[in-house]
Amino acid sequence: MEHKDIAINGDSAIAMAWKQINPDVCAAYPITPQTIIVERFSDYVADGEVSTEFVCTESEHSALTLCIASAAAGARTVTATASVGLGYMWEMLGIASGLRMPLTMAVSNRTLSAPINIHCDHGDAMASRDAGWLMIFAENVQEAYDNAIIALRIAEHKDVQLPMMTCLDGFILTHAIERMTPIDTHDVKEFVGEYKPVYPLLDLKNPVTYGVMDSPDFFYEHRYQMKMAMDAALDVTEKVFKDFAKMTGRKYSLVEEYKCDDADYVAVCLGSTFGTMKATVDILRKEGKKVGVMMPRLYRPLPSKDIAKAVKGKKGVAVMDKFMTLGGYSPLYEDVVASAVCLDKMPEMYSYVYGLGGRDARVDVLKTVFTDMIDKKAKKVNYLGVKL
């Protein structure tokens, strides 16, 4: 079927994906820059374009609680949040994953307070990276929309049964209007399929107990089962990406590489920066510099083997964190370094902190990530663009 391209911002694209999915339940609380998602979805609810039970809660803690209980009851459930809202959910994040609830949540990435700042960085996602959620990042609005659909298939897969965050950069993607190719609603519905819950509470003839008290005799094993589910999610994601490519022609990989094959120096980043970095790579390539960039699209579970393969043999690897760990190394840097430990010869690894609190990272600044490595000027840890 032929699809007409539309102009749309990232938040509205998520709402559009939800409209096409028509989830059973959505419980959410508004927070900038996620607000447009719940606003647009409210429109669909008000106009009867979806049959979703939409609950506007009094807090993010309750929003995620409702989603967990709704998923446990047997409903396909979605929500969205951002920043300190995700922080406010934190207690429930581990409970969503620990109870193995396959719900999906769009996270409009924004920095954590204080100082309060509404703009984009990955502080919210990174503070939640160990909560047992699957996490996927988007480079642009198209991918944010695609991820919102793809996520259901991964989270709900019988071998996975874990919640999934679909991350999109606050404002850069949530509010900026981009060109996007929507999928036909019939195809979306066919792709996600009818929801078949596992052990739902509302199976009244077969009552189940959710959220038990676990002793030291069992807790470790229950956590290990989650690890096995995370491991399984790597293969499942690849298969779902393949099915998605069949439907749309858009091919996704666990780790997206751009001109990395023959590159001497590569950068690793997440989110919309991947797009700006591609443009940066193109400029430097014209100057004869062999550089490339990659993005682990799937961030949890971390596709370690693919990352190791992609950085193998490089002279230098710059790992870019839109987040600053205080008193330690930043998370993506740690992840990439740990992934590369298996290599016979580790490339030189550099940590680049950048873009905090919405600080623009433009091509002229991003170029220095590569040129510093090439000119041997890069330090072990670099704070890109900080005004000191």
């Binding site: 059973d24 339940v25 419980a27 049959s51 979703t52 039970e53 609950v55 506007c56 809660t57 009094e58 807090s59 803690h61 309750s62 609680t65 409702l66 989603c67 967990i68 209980a69 709704s70 998923a71 446990a72 009851a73 047997g74 409903a75 459930t77 207690e91 429930m92 409970i95 109870l99 509470l201 509302l202 199976d203 009244l204 009552p207 189940v208 107990t209 959710y210 959220g211 038990v212 008290m213 676990d214 002793s215 069992f218």
Partner: protein, 307 residues
């Protein structure tokens, strides 16, 4: 009623003399319809769901401490969605159980939000006037002068400072269809009220007095007698607020009508180890203040019931 299906089985790990098991069994007898139960973290949750066992013969979910109302609302939201789609046919009831810590304190926001939104659910607070599961710490429901592990009776401070919040009145201010105070000694009153709560259109709230032998320093065999005493002293009046109309019930109605004597607060205090220190002469004023507070609240409640 004695032949109604066992929804909470025996073999759970509640203490001897705990009021909560009695309350939950009575509440669940109040409807013949299928129920889905949500539970806040607390004594009741840990005692009935120790993996790999469960005391529950009905669907049951616990997620966290401060969100029993939101958890219950989530199960109800799923039900509304699936019922609309024809995927579920049964007429199901949704009930949440939580202690006073999970209701008066940490779960209050979630409760208020759920009541305002109007979910079809009943919330039951089992009020034993402190955080008993973690070892008897004071809560917003703890009585003036009660000795707890975070409001100990010292030589300078005589236990809990300040009166408990009147949560039943606060909930009634949400203008939901049904609100009631109950006590496990009067099962007929409790089951009648819970029956109304299950069947009213919209959210219902039940606040149950739940004696705790460990936390109150009382004998397990005195639980039901203490429950009755809480009503006879007007520490815990039995009443309901149905569509905004206040009505005293059971023993409390008899006290208001002069058919039953209102007992002094000291009877209540003397019966429990947690108030033992108050009997010293130096705290005489405090007992008088507490009695005056109870009298004032009782007068106000009677006025509301006459409106």
């Amino acid at each position: 009623m004695s032949k109604s299906p066992t929804r909470l089985t025996s073999g759970h790990r509640l203490c001897a003399g705990c009021g909560e098991g009695i309350i939950v069994r009575q509440v669940l007898m109040a409807t013949d319809k299928p129920v889905v139960v949500s539970n806040a973290t607390g004594c009741f949750e840990v005692s009935t769901s120790i993996y790999p066992y469960t005391a529950w013969n009905v669907p049951w979910i616990h997620t966290a401490f401060g969100n029993a109302a939101a958890t219950c609302a989530g199960t109800e939201a799923a039900y509304q969605a699936l019922k609309r789609q024809g995927k579920i046919k049964e007429d199901v009831r949704f009930v949440a159980f939580a202690g006073d810590g999970g209701t008066y304190d940490i779960g209050f926001q979630a409760l208020s939000g759920a009541l305002e939104r109007g979910h079809q659910m009943m919330y039951v607070c089992m009020n034993n006037e402190a955080y008993m599961n973690t070892g008897i710490q004071r809560s917003g429901a703890t009585a003036l002068g009660a000795s707890t592990t975070t409001s100990p009776a010292g030589s300078v401070i005589p236990g809990k400072v300040g009166y408990p919040k009147d949560l039943t009145m606060i909930v009634a201010s949400h203008n939901i269809p049904y609100v009631a105070q109950v006590s496990p000694h009067n099962w007929r009153d409790m089951i009648a009220k819970c029956g109304k709560g299950f069947e009213c259109k919209g959210p219902a709230f039940i606040n149950a007095m739940s004696p705790c032998p460990r936390g109150w320093r009382t004998d397990p065999s005195d639980t039901i007698a203490l429950a009755l005493l809480s009503v006879e002293t007007c520490v815990w009046p039995l009443y309901e607020v149905e569509n905004g109309n206040y009505r005293l019930t059971a023993e409390s109605a008899k006290i208001a009508e002069g058919k039953l004597a209102k007992r002094p607060l000291t009877d209540w205090l003397n019966a429990q180890g947690r108030f033992k220190h108050l009997m010293k002469d130096k705290w005489r004023d405090l007992i008088e203040d507490a009695q005056a507070d109870i009298d004032k609240k009782w007068e106000r409640l009677q006025k509301l019931c006459k409106l």
